[in-house]
């Protein structure tokens, strides 16, 4: 790693520099978004590029660890790791971030002078999220988690004079802090039980398990459970999901896609990192819990989405259900990571695209989007209507849309590895059956959305044309949804290597 010595932290560096540049430009050149906007865009694109470079490096030279001091041996704990998981995550985060940023472009205009702050928060949150997946150190994971969370608390409440936005922000903040505390306590208990804060490397948790036979795992198990709670909260898996609908509904529509998508990416990557890599020897203990979380998420998310009348809430609950499907993949342990990646990376674009469309329909600063807002969308704006149809079909898991392949991949994975509890060779078959059943129930509201969009509008007024960046974001999301539905195999082959080391 001669030339690329800084490569492992390039993602964060680019974003940090980008954020500072945005703030600086805003101060120096003026707060008009045209001045600092390009800098932000460049930062997101640069981050994605950094991810690509990392990916290339990983696939040619193998995974690498980053140490602050030169010449530190592997025996010491690394703080940054660059492997398939983090590199792939960097690409996905970068791209989703970029698209999400474009989707938030109209919102940026709405918040006026505070635009640079908003965008720099988004940029930094992305860096924090990547930290979660690019480190083997539990404290650093927590640091990344908090970095991202705190910026999202602010973003959610950015329209502070809106009641919804404020409430959303407060709820997110309070519950998020609670979950963070739980997660952190989990880290502390794990530290107590294993004597290490690092997942692997020198003197790590993995080492601990390979050298010690744990006879009294009580505290360790409690620690694991609490860490799982923290992550489940972040990815909005039931029963830790309750914040999600309220927050997504209240938060400014233009930025919800960004928040919802990226946090899921990082959350699941962290899950893969902590449990798939660090606690891999305990896999038989934690997969049943993941399975239960998955089951509850699928059921709760789907059933609650059925009875919503607000599209944002619907999508939020559908996000809960999707968390369940993704967790289903993770029941296979580390073998589930490729399926998880496929799901998360495609779903993230759908989320961004979906909320971007909602922001064009009801305004990027809206905090409520009743289903009736979508009435006749296809007629009022064929472009948005059809693209939203694709996105929703993608979410619903219809074949030839990415969601379908993702689901199948996830389900296949869950059944491919023998399950410890209830012990059998066919993996979590019951979970898969539940999953497909819930997919069907979910069709009820997805098709309700589609039906509403295709119905005759009450007034024939054409929809106000959305800004070019937002349209671009929607188009990219829809294209990705369709493209990876029809041609999924490049991504399938790619995620095969997106493992944690």
């Amino acid at each position: 790693m001669q030339g690329g010595a800084w490569l492992p932290i390039a993602f964060e560096v680019v974003l940090l520099v980008g954020a500072l540049a945005v703030l600086l430009v805003a101060v120096v050149a003026g707060r008009d978004r045209r001045f600092w906007g390009p800098a932000a865009g460049l930062a997101f694109a640069g981050a994605a590029l950094a991810g690509v470079l990392q990916w290339r490096e990983v696939s040619t030279s193998g995974a690498g660890l980053f140490f602050t001091a030169q010449g530190v041996s592997f025996a010491k704990s690394p703080m940054v790791v660059m492997d398939g998981l983090s590199a792939f995550g960097a690409i996905v985060l970068g791209l989703v971030g970029f698209v999400g940023f474009l989707a938030a472009w109209d919102l940026v205009a709405k918040v006026g002078r505070r635009g640079p702050e908003l965008v720099s928060l988004l940029l930094l949150s992305l860096a924090g999220l990547h930290m979660m997946m690019a480190t083997p150190n539990l404290v650093v994971i927590f640091l990344g988690l908090e970095t991202a969370s705190i910026s999202f608390y602010v973003v959610a409440g950015f329209l502070r004079r809106q009641k919804g936005s404020a409430e959303s922000s407060f709820k997110y903040f309070l519950l998020g802090s609670l979950a963070s505390a739980l997660f952190l306590y989990g880290v502390a208990l794990t530290f107590a039980a294993t004597g290490s804060l690092t997942l692997y490397g020198g003197n790590s948790i993995r080492d601990f398990f390979s050298s010690t036979i744990v006879t009294q795992p009580g505290i360790l198990l409690a620690g694991m459970a609490l860490m799982l709670v923290g992550i489940a909260f972040k990815v909005s898996a039931a029963p830790f999901h309750q914040w999600a609908p309220d927050v997504y509904q209240g938060a400014p529509t233009g930025a919800v896609g960004f928040m919802a998508a990226t946090v899921k990416i990082a959350g699941f990557a962290a899950l893969a990192r902590i449990f798939g890599a660090g606690l891999v020897s305990q896999v038989d203990t934690w997969t049943p819990i993941v399975a239960v979380l998955a089951a509850v998420s699928m059921v709760v998310g789907t059933v609650l989405a059925l009875v919503q009348s607000d599209v944002k809430r619907m999508l939020a609950y559908s996000g809960v259900a999707h968390a369940g499907y993704i967790l289903t993949a993770m029941t296979a342990g580390v073998a589930g990571v490729p399926a998880m990646w496929f799901y998360v990376s495609t779903y993230a674009f759908m989320v961004v695209g979906g909320f971007a469309v909602l922001s064009t329909v009801s305004g990027s600063d809206s905090s409520k989007v009743p289903l009736d807002d979508l009435k006749g969308l296809v007629k009022r704006s064929p472009e948005m209507g059809w693209l939203m149809t694709f996105v929703v079909l993608g979410m619903s898991g219809m074949p030839f849309f990415a969601g379908f392949v993702a689901k199948v991949f996830s389900f296949v994975t869950a059944t491919a590895v023998p399950a410890p509890w209830p012990a059998n060779d066919h993996g979590y078959l019951w979970l898969v059956v539940l999953g497909v059943v819930m997919s069907v129930v979910g069709l009820a509201f997805y098709f309700r959305i589609i039906g509403t969009m295709f119905s005759t509008p009450d007034d024939q007024a054409e929809l106000q044309e959305a800004g070019l960046p937002v349209r671009f974001a929607v188009i990219v999301s829809a294209v990705i949804t369709v493209a990876f539905g029809i041609v999924p195999w490049p991504l399938i082959e790619a995620v095969r290597d997106a493992f944690p080391i």
């Binding site: 407060f170 709820k171 309070l174 519950l175 609670l178 979950a179 739980l182 009294q216 795992p217 009580g218 360790l220 198990l221 409690a222 694991m224 459970a225 609490l226 799982l228 709670v229 909260f233 029963p239 830790f240 309750q242 914040w243 609908p245 309220d246 305990q282 203990t285 934690w286 049943p288 819990i289 239960v292 709760v300 059933v303 609650l304 989405a305 059925l306 009875v307 509890w421 129930v441 009820a444």
Partner: protein
Amino acid sequence: MTDFLWLLVALPLAGAALNLILGKRIGEPRSGWFGFGLIAISFVIGFGASLGFFAGTSNPQTIYLFSWIPAVGADAAILWDPLSALLTMIVTGVGALIHLYSIGYMHGDDRYPRFFAFLNLFIASMMILVLASNFAVMFVGWELVGLSSYLLISFWFTKPEAAAAGKKAFVVNRIGDWGFLVALMLIFMTFGTFDFRTIFENAPAMFGVGAGTITAITLLLFVGAAGKSAQIPLYVWLPDAMEGPTPVSALIHAATMVTAGVFMMARSAVLFELAPVSAGVVAVVGTLTALLAAVIAVAQTDIKRVLAYSTISQLGYMVLGIGVGAYAAGVFHLTTHAMFKALLFLGAGSVIHALANQQDMRKMGALRKAMPITFITMAAAWLAISGMFPFSGFWSKDEVLAAAFARGGAWLILYVIGLGVALITAFYMTRLFAMTFLGSSRWDEGVTPHESPRTMTVPLVVLGLGTVFLGLFNTPARHAFEHFLEPAFSGVEQVEGLSIGLISTLAVVAVIVAIVGIIIGLRRYNTEVLPDETGAFWRRALAAFGVDDLYGRFLVAPGKAVADWWASVVDPKVVDGAVHGIAKGAIGGGERARAVQSGQVRWYAAVVAIGAVALVVFLLVLGGGF
């Protein structure tokens, strides 16, 4: 000539198609003549091909046309033997005459070409039935005649009765067809083929007399035959079928289609020989049908309904003939009946035509003078059906009764009943004849009866000749008819012949019975004033003993009630109810879960905390932490 036999089907079919599509352009009389011509040509072809059988020089043969359903080995092929030849001649012959008759009868109808199209279609169907070389193809014809019959009965569909009658005919026929269909399934399972020749050659070797399988097959076949040939309990459609134009009644419901059942059973004679039980059932049902229909016929006032019940009654005779094993006799009666019954119907049609569509016999009378040709030909038919020597009906009916008598034992009961029916027949036919042509005129005002046009009377005359002389082909002295048919019944044991003396005695008895019936009838009805017929018996018989009502009350209504119940309760409430229940459950669950989502941040925190505790406990339990 046998190379052209396929034309027997093709020509009428082509006629039907052309008349259907181009009929309007061809115009009124021409389309009729066109249809008639095709049938006449068919008759010529059929007759020509039969010559070999008359001469006794040719053997039966099967002619392969094309493979139809290979899976069940059903080929479209023609079985050309005397039986099919005979039926071909009857169908095309009588058919041609009726076409001719219709040219005049249907004059002025809006849908004149269509009528001939349907008639042609009927002939084609009948030919498929008759010429079939296997049960499957026979079934095709069997159903298609049902279709043609439906089309023709409900030809005047604007009359609700006509439409209902057509439907009733088709549906009741289909009930019989069900039996036939099941018979076919059993036949295929038993023999692995539908081919007549293969089955009839193998059946005696495979099964002994009385074998269960064959009994089942034959009984089922009889169910089919009962539908087509209007036997108890499926005869109810035939009287209603009189709603159709009269030529239709003559052709379909007297001469040809209704005899299909008899034909089919005769065709399956080998099987019936192996199943004495079935034969007994057939004989008993035939006799009872003959009796019941005759009794009902006595009280009818509509001229066509009398004839309809008379047809049912005569069909009973034919079926009796089959049942007692006198296949040739049964078929012989079929042949003569085709003549005189067609004649009766056409004559009736002529009368109805003359009286401006009046069908009630109480409004007729004294037509002798006005319609001489009709009167004379009808008289021949009347005597023939009454069993007067030497008209054709006498010979054929006698043959059947003699066969029943010859079986002896319990079969004598059937003979006695048959004889009784002959008496009743003579009586009610005399009643019909007298009320129509004799006595005083009771026409509606303003009606001036006149003889029908030439196209209508020519067929009457031709049929009249047949009625008079056809019987002479098959006298006890000279069984020309039976010899002609012999190759068709090659696998069947012949009924032991009675001595000539006994036969003569029976014949004399039969003639006496007929004369008695006629005399009673003439004395009662050849009067100025009609006798009062409003007594209990007359009312019940007129209403056909309420069998239709019975069916309506005990079959149709409950069936419909069940269907209604299924459609209005089971489907929406039970089947769909379960579905809606699930949906409601999901949405109800969602609504309830929504309440949990209270918006209270403390509550959310509590859920998170409880979840965390639960997760910790769960993991501890699972991982052995406790």
